[in-house]
């Protein structure tokens, strides 16, 4: 299995808004490796640095030091994003477009030829069960439907690596189940999924490996069973690792 996502000694500092502090360390010496075909859960409490890590991987934020690469290409190069799909935590898309138009636009950015783009649009809309609403403006969609449009756009290029930032956040149980099913299906197809979540039960079900991060520092990384150790659930192990004491 080859490594397709890698960070080495990744450090991100932001200007602090607190008095007396000049910088705030969002990530500190983060080393991560994700291999082909893995479903990798990225866990941590709020403000731990999960979204910052994803932002660096997607080129939204420049690291202060260290390196990050996707498929062996530096993340600062746009071409590194050719084989990835990304679903942000909050899904907002152009409300003046229909789902079909949105997917066609993104297919163009990926350089998919017309016939292949049409095929992918049909496939992804069927996969996320939005085929019947494809001609409707996105502004008329419910939250769950918008989340599924988000998944469809993340899958339009048939990516080898999916980066999902809290994909089930704010969804009802049915919506969560559908997203989980899609992740499971992608796993079965041999795709690599890197996702952050607070739903530890869900992580336990679908992930091969997990990493736990707190205050920008990597606290633990390994297979779900290794992380759980003697604890009954991943949630208990997670709370121990981040230093929460009841």
């Amino acid at each position: 299995m080859s490594v397709i996502l890698k960070t080495e000694k990744l450090r991100v500092e932001f200007k602090s808004r607190e008095l007396g502090q000049t910088t705030k360390v969002a990530l500190n010496q983060l080393d991560l490796e994700v291999s082909t075909g893995e479903v990798f859960g990225f866990l941590g409490p709020n403000g731990a640095g999960k979204t910052t890590t994803m932002n660096v991987l997607l080129g939204f934020v420049q690291p202060t030091s260290g390196t990050a690469s996707l498929f062996g290409i530096d993340v600062r190069q746009p071409i590194a994003r050719q084989r990835i799909g990304y679903l942000p935590e909050m899904t907002y898309y152009y409300k003046f477009l229909t789902a079909e138009e949105l997917l066609r636009f993104y297919a163009k950015i990926f350089g998919l030829p017309g016939a292949e783009a049409n095929k992918r649009i049909d496939e992804t809309l069927k996969l996320v069960e939005l085929d019947s609403a494809r001609k409707r403006l996105i502004k008329t969609y419910s939250k769950g439907m918008q989340q599924r449009v988000g998944l469809a756009q993340a899958l339009i290029n048939n990516p080898d690596l999916l980066i999902l930032d809290e994909p089930t956040s704010g969804l009802d149980p049915l919506g969560r189940m559908k997203v989980r099913d899609i992740i499971q299906r992608l796993k079965n197809e041999g795709k690599t999924v890197f996702f952050s979540s607070h739903e530890l039960g869900e992580v336990e079900t679908v992930c091969d490996r997990v990493a736990i991060i707190a205050n920008g520092n990597l606290k633990a990384i390994g297979r779900v069973q290794e992380i759980k150790g003697s604890e009954e659930t991943l949630e208990k192990a997670f709370l121990n690792i981040i230093g929460f004491q009841n």
Binding site: F60, R81, F105, Y106, K108
Partner: protein, 259 residues
């Protein structure tokens, strides 16, 4: 280029589907129509004044369309968080800037085309002539000048947080250049050094938008065509500013965090 055109296409589609865009567009057309239908004593001078007012209205409207359309592009993408899934694609920030610019420039060009055609038809019904090449020269330089304004607004949208402040500043800069730009060298003579050099410096540094603005006299006074070489040079001069502002926008946006 494929990505630049895809972004531009989305900008055009957005403008087509947004209702706000049509308000100013229809308002300008209606005012031009009403003014064009006024006939006071069939006096030629009055018709000339009306033509001047209509063209002034077209200039003001086109500036408002160019600035307001452009100023909200990147801030709206950030605010609505549509920028994140977009930049997660194999799209460089330079392509995004150029795509947004192209889309806004084409939109303002289409609005301008409609304004000039309507104005031309209206004037032709009165004067029974349509100096099409005069219109072409005036409209061409007008459009290229709007390209400079679009590029400036795009740069402003990356520097200023709020689209409203950017729009106000861009509009004030354009109005100041068009009204005072040509007199700056004369003002400079009234100052002592180093103020004189500073004012001279500003005079040479600013894009002289008053040049294309004055081209409307070709239509108002039915002046003969100016040399096509001068039109070409005028376009080139404005294109250089356009490229300068776009490159500055790319530089500002290149290292900006978008989270």
């Amino acid at each position: 280029m494929r990505n630049v055109f895809a972004i531009a296409q989305i900008v055009i589609l957005e403008m087509y589907r947004r209702k706000e865009f049509y308000v100013l567009f229809i308002l300008t057309i209606m005012i031009c129509l009403i003014m064009g239908s006024i006939n006071i004593f069939n006096d030629k001078e009055v018709i000339r004044y009306i033509k001047e007012l209509c063209l002034l209205m077209i200039w003001a409207s086109s500036l408002i369309i160019a600035i307001t359309t452009t100023a909200r592009q990147i801030p709206a993408e950030r605010e609505q968080r549509t920028l994140l899934p977009l930049l997660a694609k194999p799209l460089s920030r330079t392509q995004l800037i150029f795509g947004k610019f192209l889309g806004c420039w084409i939109v303002t060009g289409l609005a301008l085309f409609c304004f000039y055609v309507l104005f031309g038809v209206l004037a032709a019904t009165r004067e029974h002539q349509w100096p099409i090449f005069n219109y072409f020269q005036a409209a061409l330089l007008h459009w290229v000048a709007l390209g400079v304004v679009v590029a400036l607004s795009l740069l402003g949208s990356l520097v200023f947080a709020a689209p409203s402040s950017n729009s106000t500043i861009c509009f004030a800069i354009c109005a100041a250049i068009m009204c005072l730009g040509r007199y700056l060298d004369q003002f400079a003579l009234n100052f002592h050094e180093p103020m004189r050099s500073l004012v001279y410096g500003i005079y040479f540094a600013i894009p002289h938008l008053e040049i294309p603005f004055e081209m409307r006299n070709l239509i108002i006074h039915d002046w003969p065509l100016i040399s096509w070489n001068f039109v070409g040079l005028g376009c080139l001069y404005l294109l250089l500013y356009m490229v300068f502002f776009l490159l500055a926008a790319c530089l500002v946006f290149r290292r900006k965090a978008v989270n």
